[in-house]
């Protein structure tokens, strides 16, 4: 058997080996799980709050669970040049935990856009945090807005990290189509490698018989 296998071509070994490596990786690679919380902010009378140079819009977000790792904000554009910068700070007790700047050129004009501010990659504890928005390089012809109510906050959505699971489990749980694809790829590689090896062996036996 060992002599039989040693004569298999590299293509056969490559096919079989790749199938095994993919299977191993699918089991070993962890995928983080996230969960979005409900939107928070003033419920009635929401309006675009334009971020002009001197304006600062502040909102509060409450993390009910541990693992707060993302904050999303509802922004709006209203037929301006939109080449300004939107800046956000995440604070707790006056201490700045994270800052983020976004170029507004990319926001679709005259539209609503929920912007995920990846303010922190760390998992924050439950509690109340402040998010402060500014746009220091804006002007009346070049500004965007965030959705909220003047003096009462901004529409924000918390995103929590809830743990991680192996890639294989994640695929079959959330993307069955991808899971099937991966399984099909492994079967194809294994079968192709096997066919190449057996084919080479059959030819070798045929050549040996002819030479006799």
């Amino acid at each position: 058997m060992s002599i039989f296998l040693r004569r298999w071509p590299a293509l056969a070994w490559g096919g079989l080996g790749s199938a095994i490596i993919i299977l191993a990786l699918a089991w070993l690679v962890p995928v983080p799980l996230f969960q979005e919380g409900p939107p928070q902010g003033p419920g009635e009378g929401l309006a675009p709050l334009p971020l002009l140079p001197q304006a600062t819009v502040t909102g509060e977000i409450r993390a009910d669970e541990p693992g707060l790792s993302r904050v999303k904000v509802q922004a709006a554009t209203y037929a301006r040049r939109n080449t300004c910068t939107l800046e956000a700070e995440l604070l707790q007790g006056g201490r700045v935990l994270a800052t983020k700047k976004l170029n507004c050129s990319w926001f679709p004009d005259l539209d609503w856009v929920e912007i995920p501010f990846y303010l922190t990659d760390s998992n924050l504890d439950p509690g109340t945090y402040t998010v402060r928005f500014t746009s220091p390089d804006s002007d009346p012809l070049n500004a965007v807005a965030v959705m909220g109510l003047a003096g009462q906050g901004v529409l924000l959505r918390p995103v929590y990290r809830t743990g991680s699971i192996p890639l294989w489990n994640w695929l079959w749980r959330f993307r069955t189509d991808y899971g099937r694809l991966l399984l099909a790829l492994m079967i194809f590689l294994a079968c192709g490698g096997l066919a190449s090896g057996v084919g080479a062996e059959v030819r070798r036996i045929g050549r040996n018989e002819k030479s006799r």
Binding site: R70, A79, R81, D177, L189, S196
Partner: protein
């Protein structure tokens, strides 16, 4: 490299370098077309997806990703070709204006890659001079040249197809000589076409057909003796499968939203067919004065575009090359049949020659299937290409190879001619090449609007009902002119505009604010920029025209002044009220 190949290789290098240097000087002159913004949006959302490590999934909600509604093109696009420039733009934090300039510069890179792929393909099919002439003809094809700086996707696809066909022919040749082919190269080449458009599937079919012909020829030639090269069919099949799996894996990695993934190819095609049958169509185009829709185009729609949209020298050389390839294809088939018929005669039957003829037949079959078979299929299905031949640039690059084959063939024979005949032939060729070169200079930056002088140029095309402007790129030129016209004024000034909004937005200076005319009915505008296309120049008919963007006497866009403005004469030094 042989001594004989040195001069043509040097000439080719100079040509390519000249193209890149020239392109680097002029790429900023080109306007922004209708769908560049939507492609850019999708590309940016894809970049966001990767930069956020899969967290930002706006791209999955983009109409291009959904593949539903009015985005019929979603069925045919693999937007990852946009990713590199969008990732770069995000990393460099480019402004809106810089971003579009970067996209146009990026497309120049694709144009250079396309020329190199064409050179490689032509060199494989002919001689180094074939490669030189192919590249020269392609650069002097205004439709190809103009697209290198506009509307990223058609040139990348043309480059991908040229690469894929080059790799397919290399595989056909390898199978004949070594009995195996490089599946990694083939897969990457397939991916380069497939990741831009689903039409890239055609390259895989062509390669499979070419390899299949080799196997069929060798199977039939068994009575002529043992094969020169062992063919392990299960290994070749596995290799071809691996090439496809590589394409698929790359597609999946770069195009993560499976709802428009190639897996959905058949459902999407069914949907498009159902839409066409139900009467929902892609945007119509003007063709010979009549509106043309998918499934209803005239049988001669495609060849007519090839004839009127390209320089006479290009068309003539491509036709000459087509005759050459047909004769080689027929010759190989004839010689193979003669060898096969002599299978009983050991002195005449020759397995190794039959195998060589099989390879020659297979390689020319691949070329003919690409450059004759696909166009015939498109003609038979009455396929509709809005905006002329931009959708079939992947066939135009092949026509350049045909033209190169023909000119290379002529130049090889010219060595035996007498000096006056050589001089005359050279003079005719130079004069024929001067026509597109001179017209391209005069049309700049609207080379994509080229029409052959045999049909009366742009003027003749307009009279015949063909569309003179290319996807509204003239609005940028109008906006740039207006910026210069108002440079001494105090802002802000409001410029009402028709689509493409981004084209105008890019061209206007900081004192000028663009507003889509449909969204600003209640606001008093200062100027209006309108396209000739779809009659949008006729809005605000009472306002005087202060500028026209025109080429060869054909107006593409107009600028109107809507009210008296301090610092500017009123009535303005008008160019007339009408367009």
């Amino acid at each position: 490299m042989s001594r004989a190949a040195l001069w043509p290789a040097l000439a080719l290098a100079v040509l390519l370098a000249g193209f890149v240097l020239l392109g680097g000087r002029i790429y900023a002159d080109y306007g922004i077309t209708f769908d560049e913004e939507s492609h850019s949006d999708y590309g940016r959302q894809l970049a966001d997806y990767f930069l956020s490590r899969g967290e930002r999934t706006e791209a999955s909600r983009n109409p291009y990703a959904k593949g539903d509604g009015g985005a019929a093109t979603a069925a045919a696009f693999g937007p990852p070709f946009e990713l590199p420039v969008e990732l770069w733009a995000a990393g460099k934090k480019l402004t809106y204006q810089e971003h579009f300039l970067a996209r146009h510069a990026y497309n120049l890179g694709w144009g250079a890659a396309c020329l190199m792929a064409v050179a490689g393909l032509a060199w494989r099919l002919g001689t180094p001079w074939t490669a030189f002439f192919s590249v020269l003809l392609l650069i002097l094809n205004p439709r190809f040249f103009g697209h290198c700086f506009n509307n990223i996707k058609d040139i990348p696809f043309a480059a991908g197809m040229a690469l894929a066909l080059w790799a397919a022919l290399a595989a056909v040749d390898s199978l004949h000589k070594r009995g195996r082919f490089n599946w990694v190269v083939l897969g990457l080449a397939f991916a380069s076409a497939f990741l831009v458009r689903m039409t890239g599937l055609a390259a895989m079919a062509l390669a499979a057909g070419g390899l299949g012909l080799i196997y069929a020829g060798h199977f039939l030639a068994r009575p002529l003796g043992p094969p020169q090269v062992e063919r392990a069919w299960e290994r070749d099949l596995f290799r071809f499968g691996l090439a496809l799996a590589l394409v698929y894996a790359l597609t999946l990695a770069l195009w993560p939203f499976i709802q428009q993934h190639p897996l959905d190819f058949w459902p999407i095609m069914q949907k498009r067919t159902a839409e066409a049958l139900a009467g929902h169509h892609a945007p119509p185009t003007l063709f010979w004065g009549a509106k043309s829709y998918p499934g209803r185009a005239h049988l001669l729609y495609l060849p007519s575009w090839f004839a009127v949209g390209q320089p006479p020298v290009f068309v003539a050389a491509a036709l000459g090359g087509l005759v050459l390839v047909f004769s080689r294809w027929g010759g190989a088939l004839k010689r193979w049949i003669q060898l096969y018929l002599n299978r009983g005669d050991r002195a005449k039957a020759d397995r190794s020659r039959a195998d060589k003829e099989t390879a020659l037949f297979a390689r020319n079959s691949v070329i003919l299937a690409w450059l004759v078979g696909l166009p015939l299929y498109l003609m038979a299905t009455r396929f509709h290409f809005y905006d002329g031949i931009r959708h079939v640039l992947f066939i135009v690059v092949g026509q350049a190879v045909l033209g190169g084959l023909f000119l290379g063939w002529i130049s090889a024979r010219a060595g035996q001619w007498k000096t006056p005949a050589k001089a005359l032939a050279g003079l005719v060729l130079v004069l024929a090449l001067l026509e597109p070169a001179w017209t391209m200079v005069r049309l700049h930056p609207f080379q994509t609007s080229y029409f052959t002088p045999l049909a009366g140029g742009l003027k003749g095309a307009e009279a015949a009902g063909l569309e003179p402007d290319y996807w509204g790129s003239s609005t940028t030129a109008a906006a740039r002119w207006l910026t210069g016209y108002t440079k001494d004024l105090k802002g802000p000034l409001l410029v009402k505009t028709s689509s493409p909004f981004s084209g105008t937005r890019l061209g206007l200076g900081p004192k000028l604010t663009p507003v889509l005319s449909g969204r600003a009915e209640d606001r008093q505008g200062d100027f209006y920029i309108g396209l000739r296309r779809w009659g949008m120049e006729a809005l605000f008919p009472e306002a005087p025209v202060v500028h026209r963007v025109s080429r060869q006497g054909v107006v593409m866009a107009v600028v109107r002044q809507l009210r008296p403005i301090e610092g500017l004469p009123w009535p303005p030094r008008t160019e007339g009220v009408g367009p």
